[in-house]
Symmetry: C2
Subunit: 146 residues, 2 copies
């Protein structure tokens, strides 16, 4: 049940953009460095995000990428869907019609429940939530470090 690096990296990138909201584009190379993502790999992740209308890119000097939507309008579920595809643990949950077995098989039902539980978390989390939680976490850490 592993999540691919695509979805993980993508989430970190968008979180960084959300934290930088309103301050202009962020250089891809800088993101790659901070997030420890190989630049050429990062480059191919942003394509789908641009097509989905979540981010926009600015070329040329002082360019980079920036969030197109408000952080609260971007759900984690979208990002996972875009970069990784469906969260279904089993193909028959997305396309029961292709699997005659699903008609009579309860394992199908239980996997559907698992998916539902995951999706509930992903859909209910926006990048505004993540920004908020990130700031809180930093504050907490600062307190501890003193």
């Amino acid at each position: 049940m592993k999540l691919s690096t695509r979805a993980r990296y993508g989430t970190r990138v968008l979180l960084e953009l959300a934290l930088h909201w309103g301050k202009g584009p962020v250089l891809l190379k800088a993101i790659a460095q901070r997030q420890q993502i190989p630049l050429p790999y990062l480059q191919q992740l942003i394509g789908p995000l641009v097509k989905a209308g979540i981010i926009k890119t600015t070329r040329g000097a002082r360019g980079g990428i920036s969030l197109l939507k408000l952080p609260k309008e971007v759900r984690l579920s979208e990002v996972v869907q875009i970069l990784e595809g469906s969260t279904t643990p089993v193909a028959c949950v997305d396309n029961p019609e292709l699997y005659p077995r699903s008609d009579t098989c309860v394992t199908h039902d239980i996997w559907a429940e698992v998916k539902k539980a995951m999706d509930k978390v992903l859909k209910s989390t926006t990048f505004e939530d993540l920004v908020e939680r990130q700031k809180q976490k930093w504050n907490l850490k600062q307190l501890k470090d003193h």
Copy 2:
């Protein structure tokens, strides 16, 4: 976020055993046929289940495999764990100490929540539940088919 065939097949096998509870061993070859699982593949799935004490095997004529525990004592989470390993979407959730980033990174927290949501479903489901639901589903289908 795909579940491997190992966990899916294993679940189907155990469900079949649970439905057959108390009626002696079930022939591996027969399970393979009914569940459409290649016999040699099925064979290597049962090893770990035996070691975990969930099933026992009977060799020789009229042998097969049978459930060692009561269906209600076997949780879906165990089976997935045994055949597929941890359900963690991201390694840093299981071993945060190996990932310095997890200390300050909220994406770590959110993946942990996703895992928790999945585990909740898997842990709360026993094979007794599955048997019950399976019977209900069959009844429903019979009604519809008339």
